[in-house]
Symmetry: C2
Subunit: 171 residues, 2 copies
């Protein structure tokens, strides 16, 4: 199937938000999502953006029954590894279910690696939930390493009141 990968623009935010919702629904975390389309517009498409995004698009003749031609995306940002240096972090990788198995996810991931490489990165990092076997198989097949299984890495976070208290405490 024909498809194109390109940098996302402000005009893609509605579709990015739609696909992000599909992804969080699949990941069963919809109740924890607080971001809106306006956040995505501000945070990804103003000066000093918090993330970058690319879009996978199919020609009109392959549009979904709801009329969508934007059928996949990836969101990524740049970070640092004290082992490896410049690191590209893939926040999300998503392809709509009916378009899977056609190399679109692989192409999106390659584009993220390519954009990372162009920025001097030598490492691509991301997280995946262990019950998403399809995703795990997909990543393993491409030679990615599971730092949690192999080296015992745990992802941690703090938000809400805990974050606010931490930020505001007097040390």
């Amino acid at each position: 199937m024909d498809f194109a990968i390109r940098a996302a623009t402000l005009e893609d935010c509605k579709d990015i938000m739609r696909m992000m919702s599909e992804l969080t629904e699949y990941e069963k975390i919809t109740d924890q999502v607080t971001i809106t389309q306006k956040d995505i517009e501000q945070d990804g498409f103003s000066q000093n953006p918090f993330f970058h995004a690319i879009i996978a698009e199919v020609p009109e003749q392959h549009k979904t029954k709801d009329g969508h031609t934007k059928i996949g995306y990836s969101v990524y940002s740049f970070t640092y590894s004290t082992w490896k240096g410049r690191d590209v972090y893939m926040v999300d990788l998503y392809v709509m279910p009916e378009f899977r198995g056609k190399g679109i996810g692989k192409a999106l991931m390659s584009k993220v690696a390519q954009l990372g490489q162009a920025a001097g990165c030598t490492n691509l990092s991301f997280t995946v939930v262990n019950w998403n076997k399809t995703a795990l198989d997909f990543y393993r097949k491409q030679g990615c390493v599971d730092l949690t299984s192999d080296l015992g890495y745990h992802c941690m976070s703090c938000n809400g009141d805990v974050f606010q208290r931490m930020a505001n405490r007097d040390c």
Copy 2:
């Protein structure tokens, strides 16, 4: 004990590199480290830096036997969460062993949260190795959530030849 937390400057890179080496030695990954002081200078202290850093410093009278007054640091970057929006990612948090248990790590972490909050973040994320019980206890005591234990998150990465092939393949 008196100590101060401040933004790192180019002049701190030698000490950051020294402490990064101490940290990777503790984490038993020294053989995998490829970055140099020059990388840190370029990647953190030029335009569009890949990371930011803060330093913990003690007065002269508390300097180590080797003469160091810069005794802790944190490296962080900004990323995005498709649940929560703006996210501050703490790459490293380190305090030299003889200065632990004095609230310096807590103060460094609070400063990262504060700087994140000032940039509009509502979430702090980081990774920790599961055999580092001291670190795990420290983070849990502050109310942080273990996304790997609680939600099955796995940290993944790809680098070296796998990354190069991924970036260069023709999709």
